[in-house]
Point group: C2
Chain length 408, copies 2
């Protein structure tokens, strides 16, 4: 696996010779063990479309870090974070929910030197109601935005969902707007946040399509086959998509925000999205842009066990943001202690849980968790209900976010 990353992050090559190099089969050959979307025999399956562990103990994140060639978030990084930002690291960081990164030290250096950067995250809106797992990157992003006070762009990849889930274009756009409400309810600063639907925005931003073409020119079919496991029978919609997710990591995709400054980017996302950004990190320098930095979360485990992640397609695996107090109570009471403890660990910011590993979660503790979750979901619903069409439009309007690069 190190081989792939070596290839993908090989010294910048001029895009103009990419074709020639491709012909020479130097860059675009991918070792055969990569041909199935980065899956090795007996390893966990982690692709943007499938997360599955073959082990009872769930995904082996340390192994994943090795396979993907990223870096573990360690105490040194957390200490540096606190020292430089003056903020105690978020409990998602302290508890290892966000566990891995690429170039976070570079971002901290920039913050330390007063240099600008921005945040980019996203969501593929596959269902009307989001679940708690979907909130994790957004809750964390909101906190990062508060700490760093930087612009944030949020991609709703409704085109991806129209392709993979075979949704009608119109229905996919509707889901984007529905999901935008849940995202806005996390409390992002409207004056620093731009949320966009691919299906609407790409046709409203010539720089975006132009960057898609620039990126598409730098990546061969062999490469996306190796990175994402695409095959010859796949619709070309799938093959064409990765640059669409890559483009927002280049600041020139949003000239109305970043003018013609080349601004570095930090991407908080779940680790299954890393393949997109390994590709992006390979391409960005060839297009005279900095490589985006990344900070990866683990998956929110399903209530059925930690072998899979919470899924929006299976209503029983997750606590949904539309669940009633009663539904939450039933789901928690019904499920095994280890998953419920995982859930607790993920959402709780209140210190000790009063639980020792291996111990059965007492009825008392379950009750406490139920109350926490009921309040969290009810509060979210209350905030969401206040979000009008007018407010959504404000976030989704391409506009100047007051971003300036100060000359030193």
């Amino acid at each position: 696996m190190a081989e792939r990353n070596q290839q993908l992050q090989s010294p910048p090559e001029d895009c103009k010779v990419a074709e020639k190099i491709a012909e020479m089969s130097v860059v675009d050959k991918v070792p055969s063990e990569m041909a199935n979307g980065g899956v090795e025999d007996n390893s966990d399956v982690v692709t943007p479309w499938n997360v599955e562990s073959n082990s009872e103990t769930g995904i082996d994140y340390d192994k994943l870090i090795q396979r993907f060639g990223c870096s573990k978030i360690d105490d040194e990084l957390l200490n540096r974070f606190e020292k430089i930002t003056g903020h105690k690291p978020h409990h998602f960081l302290r508890r290892g929910i966000f566990f891995s990164h690429r170039d976070m030290h570079t971002i901290l250096n920039m913050y330390e030197q007063g240099k600008p950067f921005y945040l980019y995250t996203g969501r593929g809106p596959s269902s009307e109601s989001m679940h708690l797992g979907h909130l994790i990157p957004f809750m964390f992003c909101k906190w990062l935005q508060d700490v760093f006070d930087v612009p944030l762009v949020i991609q709703l990849s409704d085109d991806e969902k129209a392709i993979w889930k075979n949704l009608k274009i119109e229905d996919a756009i509707k889901l984007s707007y529905e999901n935008a409400k849940d995202i806005i309810a996390c409390g992002f600063k409207v004056e620093k946040t731009f949320i966009f639907s691919n299906l609407e925005h790409i046709g409203n931003n010539a720089a975006y399509y132009q960057n898609m073409i620039r990126i598409q020119k730098c990546v061969t079919f062999n490469q996306v086959k190796g990175i994402f496991g695409f095959g010859d029978s796949d619709p070309i919609a799938k093959i064409s998509f990765p640059p669409t997710q890559a483009a927002p990591a280049l600041s020139s995709t949003f000239p109305f925000i970043f003018k013609n400054w080349k601004v570095p980017c930090l991407i908080p996302c779940a680790i299954d999205q890393d393949p997109y950004f390994r590709m992006t990190r390979d391409v960005a320098p060839r297009l005279n842009h900095p490589k985006p930095a990344l900070i990866h979360s683990s998956f929110f485990p399903a209530l059925q066990g930690s072998k899979t992640k919470m899924s929006a397609s299976d209503t029983n695996t997750a606590i949904f943001l539309t669940d009633t107090a009663k539904q939450i109570k039933n789901k928690i009471n019904k499920h095994a202690f280890s998953e419920v403890v995982q859930l607790w660990k993920n959402i709780d910011n209140l210190g000790e849980i009063g639980y020792t590993s291996g111990e059965i979660l007492t009825g008392e503790l379950k009750k406490e968790l139920i109350e926490i979750l009921q309040k969290l979901v009810a509060d979210h619903q209350e905030r969401k209900n206040k979000i009008t069409t007018e407010v959504i439009k404000q976030y989704m309007l391409p506009r100047d976010l007051g971003f300036v690069v100060k000359s030193k």
Copy 2:
């Protein structure tokens, strides 16, 4: 070859099952002889990127009609054309410059019944100065627009040129504007003509990107491999492109012109563009649109001989629209009689040339042709020089062209 067309034009399939079908390897398998862009051993090479004949007598167009599965333009069609439109067929039709078609009878039926349709043609702007060969489809289109009095959309596929010729995005857009001038100089009615640069317009028209995704969902990599000869080492920019050229054949790509009417389309183009539209004709019914009709021109032969077409990349093969009177004179005098007669046949609308096949073109006749060409090019240059930036903007502004579907 008949096999491919059979496959491509098989009964409409629901796009929703395209993936499943692809998995079943029913639709997306292409016979191995198709794998090189439709090239058979010992046959002429005719792809959108390469035209080359292995025969001294040039491209065998009758064979091409058979291979591509289109229909020859015969006297019956020409007579019907004259009867229905009241116009004598253009000399490009009478002299076989436009020699082949798909569904022209359907278009004539529609015209006869007063039903609406539109014209779509295009150009990949690969050089600043166009040559006479480039003008053929536009001169013909202008005539068709006058005869039928219908809207015309003209695609400048600068994205394609940025990909295949490795141009910078900015430079490709500049070429679009330069070529738009030459096109406008052909005399299109501004009130019925929309000219667009892909690199600018796709980012200014959400319906366009949405149709690209719809089309991309219907076509597998195996299919574009078979149709266009793409390989695994090709950049995904190439693989993604065919739907971009297909989309304007669906009226829903231009809601500002066609509202939500499903309007049939007639595409005049050189025969090397047929692969794009075989694909389009396969996909259109699956997206509830009519199959576009086509009318194909032969290639404008190079001055060096009819084995290749005029090329913008080799200044000696063609009469350029920027050539001086002296350059034209030298080129005609320098080259062999047969190619010069071809040229004459293509541009002349004045009746008999006074030439018998096999005869050496006399100095007198060459002189006459030189005068005709000098006048044609000088007139074009004069019209082109009058075209201001303001005029170009008028043609290239997405706008209502006053198109309405009258209810019967």
